[in-house]
Structure formats: structure tokens, C-alpha cells
């Protein structure tokens, strides 16, 4: 395996008294697309929030391009080139569609993505650019959320449950554009409950259960039974 661009070392995470992650280790190589799966509450979102800096950890628990970033504030992590497409889309309701995209570019990082390029990817958004973001359909909102993250021209992009609550056609269309996004070398972590979707785009998979990694391996070497067992903790 090449030198990892992003690694987690014994990552713990707490919400007050409650511990959500227990010593998670992970190495992600540049350009890799990795799926993270697990049941509800397994700690997937927590993992992504820890990487993005929304949860504070010890500095050495997360390293990125050789820097210990575990204790860094989220905005500084963003400036370093890690972007998160949050669970449930989380658009800014008081910003228009275009403003939501523009604010994604706040870090001012150079790169291939621009407003035009995002509109090229999701043409429907251009038609709706002055609309309040809350008036879009769920799928369109998900497009804005993805576009917003791309506007930061990140090196690593984290997707949290992009298909949640979306109709199958929409899910399909979003998964159809995913290769265009990660195609030119962007590293991606994809959290997904729809296991087959997740596996279809990723090369490697981690399964979380109760805040611990219960299974990991290359997508093509892992069997459905392994996954189901790791996923629910029971044999199907």
C-alpha cells in the first residue's frame, strides 16, 4: 500500500460521558475510494466528524499528509483540503442555491472546481440558482451539498449517507456522477447504509459496529455473509 494520505490512530470519540468510537485505526491512500458501512448508530458520522474537525481529538489521532490534525478546528481542516458532505444535506436555509455554492469556495483553494463546473455537473442547479435552498427537492439539495463541498477544491472528500431519504432514481443519478467527481484523483470516504451502492463505487471497505472496526478489506474479496455478520453482529 502506498503512503497513506489520511490515517487514524486509535481514534476515540466521546459525546459527554458517552463514548461513540473506540480506538479506530484506518489508513487511506491518495486517490482511494473507501466505503464505510455499519448499522444505525455504529459511529460512522462520528468518524467523519472527527476527521473534519467538528469533534476534537488528540492531535496525533488523525494525521493528514504527515500533519497531526486531530486537534485542529474544523475551519482550519477545511483550509487544508478536507471537505465533508454532511448527513442530511444541511444546506444554509437563509442562503440561495448559488450562495450555498459560493460559500463552499470560502477557503479560496485553487483547483478544477468552479461554479461553472458544478453547474455543468448538475445543470438543474443553474436553473434554480436564485431559489432559496429549502425549496429544492431532496435530491437537488443533495446536489447542492455535494457541489458546495466540491467548490472548496478538496483533496479528500467525505460523503455521509448521500442516498439517505432519496428516491431510487435520484440515488442512481447521484451515484452516476460520483465517478466523475472522484475520477481525477480525489480521495473519497463514502459512508453509506445502502451496502450494494457503497460497494459498487469503492475499492476498499471498513465496517463499523458499536464504535469499533469489525471488518475491513478490499471490496472484491469480502463476502456478503461477512458483511452481514459484521454489520448486524448476527448471522443472516
Amino acid at each position: 500500500m502506498p503512503k497513506p494520505v489520511l490515517s487514524l490512530h486509535k481514534l476515540d470519540a466521546h459525546y459527554g460521558d458517552f463514548q461513540a468510537l473506540f480506538g479506530v485505526d484506518m489508513d487511506i491512500a491518495a486517490g482511494e475510494v473507501v466505503a464505510i458501512i455499519g448499522a444505525n448508530g455504529a459511529g460512522k458520522t462520528t468518524l467523519l466528524r472527527s476527521i473534519a474537525g467538528l469533534l476534537k481529538n488528540q492531535a496525533a489521532q488523525v494525521t493528514y499528509q504527515g500533519d497531526a490534525i486531530g486537534a485542529l478546528r474544523a475551519d482550519l481542516v477545511a483550509h487544508k483540503g478536507i471537505a465533508l458532505v454532511p448527513e442530511g444535506r444541511q444546506l444554509f436555509p437563509s442562503l440561495s442555491v448559488e450562495e450555498n455554492l459560493q460559500i463552499g469556495a470560502h477557503t479560496g483553494r485553487a483547483g478544477p472546481w468552479s461554479l461553472d463546473k458544478v453547474y455543468g455537473l448538475f445543470p438543474i442547479l443553474k436553473e434554480r440558482k436564485d431559489q432559496a435552498s429549502t425549496t429544492l427537492s431532496g435530491g437537488q439539495q443533495q446536489m447542492v451539498a455535494i457541489g458546495r463541498a466540491l467548490m472548496a477544491n478538496p483533496d479528500v472528500i467525505l460523503f455521509d449517507e448521500i442516498s439517505l431519504g432519496l428516491a431510487p432514481v435520484i440515488i442512481k443519478s447521484i451515484y452516476d456522477v460520483l465517478p466523475n467527481i472522484v475520477g481525477d484523483g480525489m480521495t473519497a470516504l463514502i459512508v453509506e447504509q445502502d451496502i450494494s451502492k457503497a460497494l459498487s463505487v469503492s475499492s476498499r471497505v471498513y465496517c463499523l459496529q458499536e464504535g469499533r472496526v469489525s471488518l475491513t478489506g478490499a471490496t472484491n474479496t469480502i463476502s456478503r455473509d461477512d458483511i452481514t455478520r459484521a454489520y448486524f453482529g448476527v448471522g443472516a
Binding site: A74, P86, S94, I103, G104, H106, T107, R148
Partner: protein, 287 residues
């Protein structure tokens, strides 16, 4: 004619209240911060204006060039040093901290300037008047109203047309997600407080020109500011102006019935609005 006059005077008074409230509205709208010290910050600005005019011998309006940036600086430091650490779902920490700030400000001003009433001298403009369709209107109240409109238009522009305003709105909507966009929440809030206190400087100077002030007069005006913000609806600056005008007109009309009813009428107008529309008249974000 008397009633028309009362309404006109009330509207102009509303301009003053809106000016008191504009900074508050910004702070409340962006940070959900109930700033008990706002009235005292207005008085602080008035004293800074006074010192500047006395020391440099300049007109109070010119003193704004110094006071507004100074207040903005104070606001930024205050927000980053103290207030940011009190923000959250619980409204009590900011309430208590700004209460502490208010007590400190009042007493520090008392130490520095004594309790003597002070006033800034703005020359002929204070007493000048223009006849308008049978009414005689003071130039200063007209100017105050015009400034209130200009300030609110300016804030509205910053809020909705600039990247700083976009950052305000985004951080206010969801500060976690805004951080993901690379926005430093502490800095954005600091900028919002700086802007709010720059507006406060304008309110303070106009207060100090309009009437005499002493360290204790801030608190009495604070509640009108809050009322204007809430009547107008959270985060809607034009609503804040409307709220100020509603309060001002209610007060002058109440006073027309009996001067004892002046303040009461304003408060009752506030309660009636809330009874009918608990989110205020023009909330920006519908729930």
C-alpha cells in the same frame, strides 16, 4: 392635526429606537445572543464621543470617524475574548455575562466621568427645524430617522449582498457546517459584533447630541431596543425599523391620551403583537 403630529413625532422617535435596536438585531440575529450590556455600550460610545469632541475640539459627527472604529475594535475583542465562550443553546450564560459586563461598564464610566449629566454640542443642528405641511419638524430627529434608515439599508446590504454577510447568515444558520466551509466561527462572530458596535457608536453619538446622558441611562433604553427587534421578527432588519416605528407611534399616541400612558402604550403594543404573532411581524426564516 394634533394626531397627525403625534404620529409623525412617533415615527421619528421610532427611528431613534430602531437605531438603538439595529446593533441588537444584528447580534441577536447572527449569534442568538441576548446582550444585556447593549444599552451601556451605547452610553460608552456617547462618552467616547464626548471625550473625542472635547479633546480634539471636533464636531460630534466628525468624532464618529474615531468612535465607530474604536467601538468596532472593542466589539471584536469582546466577542472573541469573552462572549464566544458563552454561546450555545442555553441563554443563561450570555445573559449573566452581559449582565456582568453591563454592571462593570456602568460603574467604570461612573468612576471615569462621574454621575454628572453630560451632553455633546452639535451646534445649530440641535435646534434647527423645518416646516413640513403645517408641522414643524426638528432637523435632528429627521436626521436621526434618515440615519436609521441609512444604517439599516447599509446593514441589509452587507447582510444580503456581500461575502461577509453571507458568512454571517451561514454561520448563524449552522455554525458547525459553516466551519466545514472554512469559516472561522469565532472570527465571523467577532466581525458581527464589531459591525454591531460600530452601529452602536452612531446610536451613542446621536443620543449624546439629542439629550444629556449619564452612566446609568443605558438600561432604560435597552428594553425598547429588544422590543423593536422582537416586534420586527428575528433577523429582519427592516422589521426592526418597523418595530421601532410601531413602538414610537404607540408611545406618542399613548401620551396623547395621558402622558402617564406613554411607555405603557409602547409595552402594550409589544404584548399585543406577540399575542397575535409570537415570532414577530416579519420573521426572516419561517418555521
Amino acid at each position: 392635526m394634533d394626531w397627525i403630529s403625534a404620529i409623525v413625532q412617533g415615527t421619528l422617535l421610532g427611528g431613534l429606537y430602531a437605531l438603538f435596536a439595529a446593533g441588537l438585531s444584528l447580534i441577536f440575529g447572527v449569534m442568538r445572543l441576548v446582550n444585556i450590556a447593549h444599552g451601556d455600550l451605547i452610553v460608552l460610545a456617547a462618552y467616547m464621543g464626548l471625550s473625542t469632541t472635547v479633546m480634539l475640539g471636533i464636531h460630534p459627527f466628525v468624532a464618529l470617524l474615531i468612535v465607530a472604529p474604536a467601538m468596532a475594535g472593542i466589539g471584536y475583542v469582546l466577542q472573541r475574548g469573552i462572549l464566544n465562550r458563552t454561546l450555545g443553546d442555553d441563554i443563561l450564560p450570555p445573559l449573566l455575562v452581559t449582565f456582568g459586563l453591563s454592571v462593570i461598564l456602568q460603574n467604570a464610566l461612573l468612576e471615569a466621568y462621574s454621575a454628572d449629566p453630560q451632553k455633546m454640542n452639535a451646534g445649530v443642528i440641535e435646534t434647527a427645524s423645518v416646516p413640513v405641511g403645517g408641522l414643524t419638524l426638528g432637523v435632528l430627529p429627521l436626521l436621526t430617522f434618515a440615519i436609521a434608515v441609512a444604517v439599516i439599508a447599509g446593514l441589509q446590504f452587507i447582510f444580503y449582498r456581500t461575502s461577509l454577510g453571507r458568512a454571517f447568515r451561514a454561520t448563524s444558520d449552522n455554525s458547525d457546517i459553516a466551519q466545514l466551509m472554512g469559516l472561522n466561527k469565532a472570527h465571523v462572530f467577532g466581525m458581527a459584533m464589531a459591525l454591531a458596535l460600530a452601529v452602536t457608536a452612531i446610536a451613542g453619538i446621536l443620543l449624546g447630541v439629542r439629550t444629556s446622558f449619564d452612566p446609568s441611562v443605558g438600561g432604560a433604553r435597552l428594553i425598547f431596543g429588544f422590543e423593536a427587534v422582537i416586534i420586527g421578527g428575528l433577523g429582519n432588519l427592516w422589521g426592526t425599523l418597523a418595530g421601532g416605528v410601531i413602538l414610537g407611534v404607540a408611545q406618542t399616541l399613548g401620551a396623547k391620551i395621558d402622558p402617564g400612558w406613554q411607555l405603557l402604550a409602547g409595552h402594550i403594543a409589544f404584548l399585543v403583537v406577540l399575542a397575535v404573532r409570537p415570532q414577530g411581524l416579519f420573521p426572516r426564516v419561517a418555521h
